[in-house]
């Protein structure tokens, strides 16, 4: 189907409006839909996500009371200003250095989750492995309770107690 406006590109946005019982339909291509001011973006790019999150956050100055200079990582010299431009961090330590600022972004990107509960390198100490396993079990327990699967919830609770 062709776009009603430009008559050239394929219509990918289809709008149905019902006003006072009268139904009108519009078929537009993405370009013309944007021209008409119809929002068509269903996914935010990482850059957009970053910009929107960081824009609403307190500045480094407000957070750290440092009015002289922007916070930078002592290991790699990275600043959050660079992060908003490049969307990648400078080194693994940045996760600690910028933790307060990154946390809302991590939460947003991962459906509210902020704690790892997957694979653990075999070289990690036993305690670390146990802790991560417990986190995973607690999350599974939460899901089981929410979906009212009490049999599974009971099994998970037993596993948690055993591990503790």
């Amino acid at each position: 189907m062709q776009c009603q406006v430009c008559q050239k590109r394929e219509a990918t946005i289809h709008l149905t409006e019902i006003t006072d019982g009268v139904r009108t339909e519009m078929h537009l291509c993405e370009h013309c839909a944007q021209e008409e001011g119809i929002a068509v973006k269903s996914q935010l790019s990482i850059n957009e996500l970053l910009s929107s999150l960081l824009a609403t956050q307190p500045s480094d100055d407000e957070l750290f009371g440092d009015t002289e200079q922007e916070l930078s990582c002592p290991h790699c010299g990275f600043t959050l200003g660079q992060f908003t431009k490049e969307a990648v961090l400078g080194c693994p330590h940045d996760y600690e250095v910028f933790e307060k600022l990154l946390l809302p972004l991590i939460e947003k990107a991962h459906d509210g989750k902020t704690v790892h509960c997957g694979k653990v390198p075999s070289k990690m100490p036993k305690d670390t492995k146990k802790q991560i396993k417990l986190t995973a079990l607690h999350q599974q327990l939460e899901v089981a309770v929410q979906s009212e699967d009490y049999e599974l919830a009971a099994k998970l609770r037993d596993k948690i107690n055993q591990l503790k």
């Binding site: 693994p92 989750k113 990690m124």
Partner: protein, 374 residues
């Protein structure tokens, strides 16, 4: 090994075999990893990147993968070859056209690749035909374990595997399934599918062609959440719930076309056959679009016993195209080969020299005519 050793044929994961392969083209699992004690790539000097590259390359080349493996320095590879690797899904566009010392390790049968110095120090991936995520996960996990014996990964007990971009943090896993959904498109339900998957927090993009456009009705579906959920749970969600449900929707749409709109279905297949068998010039986009309809027609015949007049003609055509002793059929493999081999870089690499778009269109049409007319 030379790239021309593999460019004349399709990769193993695209040969039409594997569970639900009529709709699920392939399963892919990728893990993102970084080495402890090094900066992420955006802050590495060329010398540090070279050091990481050498270390990881040596480790990967020493792995026992049950297949020959070869290494390519991507930054020293000609542009056409890099395009070929992208078309082949062996490296990402980002890796092909990025900066600095970087490379890729490829298993000859193309089920495994490892990109070194892409966005993270290391990205390893396993690919298989059809819906085989659990097997992909087991195998990539084993390879990850082998690498982990030889180096320390950047890992935090709280955040898991530390990645350059926080969107990959935690497990560093990206599960992707490539789907062929022509009937959902034809019956006008594809937008509903796209919206539903996005609501579930999944990413959808095209498999072939540029950017996010889904040329040829091929879609790639991936997880976006990598933290706070285990690898096994992500894989199980895809393999046991999300993908079987989409496959069922596509099958329902195919049945709907057969029972309610056989003329629409036949028109699409007849037009596609006529154009592909007769065109003298054909663009990559048009070829993908038309081949998609033939692929669906053959699959509907093979899997659902569909025999509308156009599908019958398509099958007669396949019987007539071979010699009398051994009728050669237009199999799914033939169609899959055309999807893969008529892409711009494949055409040029197999032709032996660079061609402009107009000449590529002539060559593409010729290859398709010859495959479909016998």
């Amino acid at each position: 090994m030379k790239l021309t050793d593999i460019s004349g044929d399709i990769n193993e994961w695209f040969d039409g075999s594997g569970p639900l392969a009529d709709i699920v083209i392939s399963s892919r699992i990728r893990l993102a990893r970084n080495m402890a004690g090094h900066k992420f790539l955006s802050r590495c000097s060329a010398a540090e990147k070279s050091e990481i590259l050498k270390k990881l390359r040596d480790i990967l080349m020493s792995l026992e993968l049950g297949d020959k493996i070869f290494y390519l320095s991507v930054d020293k590879t000609p542009v056409l070859d890099r395009h070929f690797l992208v078309e082949r899904h062996l490296i990402s566009r980002h890796h092909a056209f990025g900066k600095g010392p970087r490379g890729v390790v490829i298993a000859q049968r193309e089920f495994f690749t490892a990109m070194i110095n892409e966005e993270d120090h290391l990205r390893i991936q396993m690919l298989k035909g059809g819906l085989q995520l659990t097997r992909c996960a087991e195998q990539i996990n084993r390879i990850d374990d082998m690498i982990e014996q030889k180096i320390d990964y950047a890992f935090s007990p709280r955040y898991g595997y530390l990645t350059a971009c926080p969107t990959n943090l935690g497990t560093g896993i990206r599960v992707s399934v490539m789907l062929h959904l022509p009937a959902l498109k034809m019956t006008g339900q594809i937008e509903k599918f796209l919206n539903a998957t996005r609501d579930m927090g999944l990413a959808v993009r095209g498999l072939f062609g540029e950017g996010t456009e889904a040329a040829g009705d091929f879609y790639q579906l991936s997880n976006q959440v990598t933290l706070g959920i285990s690898e096994a749970d992500i894989v199980a969600q895809f393999e046991n719930a999300i993908i079987p449900e989409i496959v069922e929707y596509e099958n329902t749409a195919r049945n709907q076309l057969l029972s309610k709109e056989p003329d629409v279905l036949d028109d699409k297949i007849s037009r596609a056959m006529a154009l592909l068998r007769n065109a003298n010039l054909i663009s990559s986009q048009e070829a993908l679009f038309l081949l998609s309809h033939l692929r669906m027609g053959i699959n509907m015949h093979e899997r659902m016993g569909a025999s509308t007049p156009a599908i019958k003609r398509l099958c007669k055509l396949s019987a007539a195209s071979g010699n009398a002793d051994k009728p050669q059929s237009i199999s799914i493999t033939t169609i899959n080969r055309l999807f893969m081999l008529t892409q711009p870089a494949h055409l040029q690499l197999n032709y032996g020299k660079t061609l402009d778009a107009a000449h590529r269109d002539i060559l593409r049409a010729k290859i398709i005519r010859s495959a479909l007319n016998g």
